[in-house]
Symmetry: C2
Subunit: 549 residues, 2 copies
């Protein structure tokens, strides 16, 4: 592997561990826990792992000698910066327990456990990946661990390799599955601990005990870098409106954080659109109003941040999609041989009047996409809709109307961007490098403490990393019952943007100013070697949430 | 202006001047120069500014006291990182000549000179913009200075403000216009010097005397950062082919530099496509062959870099577009009221057999775009074609054919990216910060030397900046006669990628390896504060060109 100069220099970085983890630790138990909702149902589903106490690590003056432990690690789902450092921290952690401990990496996600595909992660391999982005050390995948058969196949290979603990690095769904796996292995006395680590650039896996998921910090800094660059271009040329879509379908944390970092003219927050029951036209008109108002001052340029999941948050469209999916599911056979035109006709004649009206309000190509593009399960493929182009096109039409009414006299020309893959595998920021390393090292401590069904928890994150607090949180504590694919399931509650939360309130208090006045901030690229105020700041979301407490 | 921590820290950076410019200088004349071609015609067109000698600055042990000078500065054309530092260097340079010197910035490009829109750039303003990206200090624009009337309007405001020198920061066309303006002002004895500075991220303004244009270094580093991140994602998920289009219509320097930095599986170089008289199908098939070959080893993923201008370099399409433009120009009235279908029919019936065949070989939507989308001059809008999607779609079709023949058994799923605006206004790298500051400071020295029609020249750029050589090059020296919009014109010769040049040869020698083996390099973000091997390296293009000499 030929390395860039930065990779070489960065390999020497030593992540700063919380001071408590630098020596021997003991796990101190807090009070027994409850799930965030549906306590009885969750308890019934997790009889062996429900209600466990929170754990906090403290210095241990009289440690006992550790024994070698064989651990398996899995990267699950979409990439997030810092995943390699979780594995490096885990490796160093189990080696500290005993130098004969061994780490096995299952390949290409949870499927590797089921299919018995793995490599042993030696120190030679680990050292190649310290402080790097990507999940390429063992690859990732989206196989869901949900079936007993998968669990039993996993158990086989664990027995074969002498593995007594699995660490699953993933988002909310993967950690839900980790909890189910932990419960199952405990119920059959398999002797295999399962520990989760909170990963996702989307930032929607967080709660009272998990302050942030790893990768969010780095990814939003990369997006903010390029958004800032585009804004500087926008403010130099003064002739384009840039519509910038940002990854994150389930929540708008990424868009909100980037807005706080860069102060664009407009940022749409899906959760607000939903809460206010806004239609797509409402969203479009609100953008067009800002375009028109800026044009009054000769400013025919601006930036609009759009969360990827917007369409699915608009209540009217959500209802339309739900009915579309129902119609298609219920009439699978009747519509089997239909061509596009026949299918459109069929759908139109079966839609309720309200949803038909919503469909008619959409541009023709988007309406067609909703009706015709299906995923393998027959569902509408919302992710294929280029929301940023949809919005800019509809804004253009709206401006024509305003112009005809004499309410818009400016020029309007739009450019489009989508940022997602640019940030998921970036080299981790100092924050993520430290946080991930600590999460992995801490997972080793949880293994050593003999627990299962816990998520590695590092807290106090707005403080310098040496002051961070280390411990473990029972995964069941974060769960509630939700309806998924027509069935009630225990799942980790997703953290959406809270409209009463400090980050959103900060944004809401300033956005009118940002809209009319050009208040762009240019964050620039992530720095690793400079002054601490440049290199070591956690996300503004984290900082404001902390201040808001 | 609220500033990011990096902006604040970066404001303190002191660009490193070539040591010769740190004290008083004298201009040492070299031999008289010749234009690169068409010497007689160029001489006739530039009787007052042709054949001037190259200038080199040397230390001056006996300087005479300088007099205050009023200077106007113009940013022309597309943004490039470092433009602000050219202005800062110019400001410091004329202040060093005499502290009562004044700098005026014409607003929003050359149009500001003609329309008398300007601000005085005081030290308070200048200090806000040191080492920052963007052209927002005075804005930029694309008005072309070509008409005597414009020159005379410019002269008016210069007289009014006591301006005796103009510095035009621009690409090849803007510097061509600077040469014409210099000649005109000299011919009428206006007493106004004109100095050019070589700007363009495209890297196509360079020659024996100008080693690189500013902005190329930073922009390609930003693109390489995000390409590297995407490659790491690609190599982690192992399931997508990423087609990445890069800005640069006239030459493929950006794509080539990014390929050298990141080692993608495939990089198309337009100049090679043209030289080999490749068709679009040839390009598509060459990509499909790599996709199929990688699939044989289970690698259903990869990256393809595509220069923005590819389509216009494909000889067959170039001929098609030329005939389309001719047909439309010659039949403007006959086709005036036509709707899309009528126009398509008309065009098809008028095309030569060869070009009609080329048109038929294109996907329907692209063929329609070529026939129907027109710019205000009636020309085909090639820039609207999403080349990255066109290629990936055609590759997909080709793979279906290969699959039917049993020659492709893999999976193929494509994602698309276009990077351009992300890099044009980035904070300049140390290289560009130093280079631009030196270009501007050196422009002040050229003004002090009393010359006109020169381009600011800083050479020896692969050495540390203190060792750089400073001087001036007569702009006419870079000119030849080219056919533009149906007329012969004196223009600066564009520097295309040389297929016998060291950067291309380095790429060509390795690309088969990169195609089959996954050799990605991950450059990471531009660093400003770290070790010199990370922070202070010029582009690989520059380094290889230097080694190749």
């Amino acid at each position: 592997m030929k390395k860039s100069p930065l990779q070489k220099a960065r390999a020497a970085y030593k992540p700063k561990l919380p001071v408590v983890l630098t020596g021997a630790v003991k796990a101190v138990e807090g009070k027994p826990t409850q799930s965030v909702a549906n306590q009885e149902e969750i308890h019934q589903l997790f009889p062996n792992t429900y209600g466990l106490p929170e754990l906090k690590f403290e210095k241990n003056a009289n440690p006992t000698a550790g024994k070698p432990v064989n651990v398996g690690v899995i990267l699950s789902g979409g990439q997030a910066p810092g995943g390699h450092n979780v594995i490096c921290g885990l490796f160093d952690g189990i080696k500290k327990i005993h130098r004969d401990s061994r780490l096995f990496g299952f390949l290409m996600g949870p499927g590797g456990l089921v299919d018995h595909k793995y490599i042993e992660l030696t120190s030679a391999i680990i050292d190649e990946y310290r402080n790097t982005g990507g999940f390429d050390i063992i690859g990732s995948g989206r196989t869901k661990l949900e079936e007993k058969e998968q669990f039993d196949k996993g158990l086989e290979i664990c027995k074969e390799l002498g593995i007594t603990a699995l660490v699953i690095i993933g988002g909310d769904d993967s950690n839900t599955n980790a909890a189910v796996l932990a419960e199952y292995y405990k119920s059959i006395g398999a002797g295999i601990q399962v520990i989760g680590c909170p990963k996702t650039i989307d930032g929607d896996l967080k709660n009272e005990c998990i302050e942030t998921s790893f990768g969010f910090d780095t990814a939003t800094k990369v997006y903010s870098e390029v958004i800032g660059n585009i804004q500087r271009d926008c403010n130099s040329a003064k002739k384009y409106w840039h519509f910038i879509k940002l990854m994150g379908r389930s929540a708008s944390h990424i868009a909100l954080e980037c807005a706080l970092q860069t102060q664009p003219n407009i940022c749409i927050i899906s959760e607000e659109v939903e809460a206010k029951d806004m239609t797509l036209d409402d969203v479009v008109n609100s953008i067009a109003d800002v375009v028109a108002a800026r044009a009054n001052y000769g400013n025919n340029f601006g930036t609009v941040l759009v969360p990827e999941g917007l369409i699915e948050f608009i209540p009217a469209i959500k209802r339309l999609i739900a009915e579309l999916n129902n119609i298609l599911a219920e009439n699978k056979e009747a519509t089997a041989g239909f061509d596009a035109d026949e299918l459109e006709k069929f759908i139109s004649s079966h839609l309720s009047e309200e949803n038909a009206a919503t469909l008619r309000s959409l541009p023709a190509n988007v309406a067609r996409q909703l009706m015709l593009d299906r995923d393998p399960h027959g569902n509408v493929q919302v992710s294929l809709i280029e929301t940023e182009k949809l919005l800019s096109e509809m804004v253009g039409k709206r401006l024509q109307t305003l112009a005809a009414e004499g309410k818009f006299t400016g020029k309007y020309s739009a450019l489009h961007h989508f940022f997602g893959y640019e940030g998921r595998c970036a080299d981790p920021s100092n924050f993520d490098a430290d946080y991930c390393y600590a999460l992995g090292f801490n997972a080793a401590c949880l293994i050593n403490a003999g627990v299962t069904g816990y998520m590695s928890s590092i807290r106090n994150l707005v403080k310098p990393s040496v002051q961070w607090i280390a411990g473990g949180i029972p995964i069941t504590m974060m769960m509630n019952i939700e309806r998924r694919n027509g069935a009630d399931k225990p799942v980790i509650q997703k953290a959406l943007v809270r409209l009463d939360g400090a980050p959103f309130l900060k944004f809401a208090a300033q956005r009118d100013d940002w809209a009319m006045n050009t208040c762009y901030i240019y964050p620039g690229p992530i720095q690793y070697f400079g002054p601490t105020e440049v290199c070591d700041q956690p996300s503004l979301t984290l900082r404001y949430e902390h201040q808001g407490k």
